[in-house]
């Protein structure tokens, strides 16, 4: 695996008035890594992720994502990342293919490469017969895969997944992680937030955020060793125990 650093931020801070949502966030993520970004409700995950995606401007601190400065090159960053949220932002009334085509066009892909990529994607997903079905008619599990495909069709350097498996049952989640493994094996960096701690085990490294700060950062085994815990669930409970915010 190449050791190239894809995300590198230092002391990233975001304040809303007197409230510090993200407090001196410092982390580095390598190419092809699956990085789990965990935290209790209200710990500041979403705010941090928005800054990394170039959607929100940090109050202080600096960093690069996909080689672009988050302070000065937000537009470039957006072009080189993929983003998928909990809500599977697909257009329900458009067909599967129309959705993919739309997102690919937004990212400036040529008609030829869109055709090639979508054909390949339909094949690997086994969705060839669903091409012209409106998205609202396909099951949730498929929607999720489709949303991931839409977010990665333009081969971004990093794909940000904001609770991609929220409210989805285990067997569907499992298949989804298979897609993430594939993306990672193709050299895509995957930055993912989740509530499901069993899912944290899928990641190469994870960070746990508490009250705007990263309280723990290591591989799942490393964390379990460090906190003398059997499961990630226990690790999380120990780390997040003192959380003041959120509740």
């Amino acid at each position: 695996m190449a050791k190239e650093i894809v995300i590198s931020v230092k002391d990233l801070t975001k304040k809303f008035g007197s409230f510090t949502a993200v407090d001196h966030l410092t982390l580095q993520v390598r190419r092809g890594e699956i990085f789990g970004f965990l935290g209790a409700n209200g710990a500041g995950k979403t705010t941090a992720m928005r800054m990394l995606c170039g959607l929100s401007f940090p109050t202080s601190g600096s960093g690069t994502v996909a080689g672009y400065d988050i302070l000065r090159q937000a537009e470039e960053i957006k072009r080189h990342i993929g983003y998928m949220s909990q809500k599977f932002s697909l257009y329900e009334n458009l067909t599967v293919w129309e959705n993919l085509n739309l997102f690919a066009t937004i990212y400036g892909m040529s008609a030829k490469s869109i055709r090639e990529k979508t054909d390949a994607a339909f094949k690997t997903l086994g969705m060839e017969n669903m091409r012209n079905v409106p998205v609202k008619e396909i099951p949730l599990g498929w929607k999720q895969k489709l949303a991931f495909t839409a977010a990665t069709l333009h081969s971004p350097d990093v794909v940000f997944l904001d609770e991609p498996t929220g409210g989805v049952d285990p067997s569907t989640r499992r298949k989804f992680w298979e897609m993430i493994y594939r993306a990672s094996s193709e050299g895509m960096t995957v930055f993912v937030t989740t509530h499901y701690l069993d899912e944290a085990e899928y990641c190469n490294r994870i960070s746990i955020m508490v009250d705007g700060r990263i309280k723990a950062l290591d591989s799942p085994e490393g964390l379990k060793r460090q906190y003398l815990a059997g499961t990630m669930d226990e690790v999380f409970r120990i780390v997040a125990k003192d959380a003041k915010r959120g509740d």
């Binding site: 209790a40 599990g141 509530h195 499901y196 701690l197 997040a240 959120g246």
Partner: protein, 304 residues
Amino acid sequence: MKNAIDIQGLTKRYGKLVALDHVSLSISEGSLFGLIGPDGAGKTTLYQILTTLLSPDEGSATVMGLDVVKDYRKLRTEIGYMPEKFSLYPDLTVDENLHFFASLFGVNVKDNFDLIAPIFDQLQKFPNRRAGALSGGMKQKLALGCALIHRPKVLLLDEPTTGVDAVSRSEFWGMLATLREKGITILVSTSYMDEAERCERIALINKGRILDVDTPGRLIEGLDKNLYNASSKDMYPLLETLRTLPDVKDCYTFGATLHVVTNDDFNPDDAICKLRQEGLEDARIWPAKGNIEDLFIKLAKDDG
């Protein structure tokens, strides 16, 4: 022991779609019963019939001996329902929500305070906060408080912990255990397998049919046979390669490792050899302990 919930041949169709297909289920009084199944398995439909929001097409169901169709008015006072989605008034405060739901059942918040006291201890910190401004975990606790306010005999919880962080989930299950000790029957659905193991008995449901009902321990018995862990630095190639091996029936991601379901002829050492040939130098295979999730995958697969 008496049954709190009795379901006989319950069927519900939406046009062509069969949401519930002759479901029969008995839940004894005072138990913590789990309903485990993927999205679209029919869990919510079952809840809506038990809460008298829907009428079944065929079959019958009783809650505390009351028929869901005939005695629906009386039944409504006996149950506490917490729907899948947060369903309180976001613009009303914690206190206002509690008092409102209390008044719907004609009770005072104080009447059954002992029941909600553990929940209320935490909510008390901000009685005047709007429900919409609470964190996910707190919303869940408030919703539970509102469902308990009239001291129901049966609690019907539809995926109460979806989207809630691990610490809050764990607290929530602690509360359920306390409630059960007070004699309340709880039917809870979940898609978290670790939660399934905290139930006394569980029913696995898929495509509107009950696949199996038993204690979690007995359900996973015998599952360890022909179940292996596999791991490597390069997980995706490992997954792809394992699936091509002849004796492998199924292979799926399972957290830090892959789970491999095999037939009796499978030999781990041979498999490792083959994987090494494919360039997966660090591949390892060792026996795995099955859990509810493995069972579920197996049943869902057999079910087609």
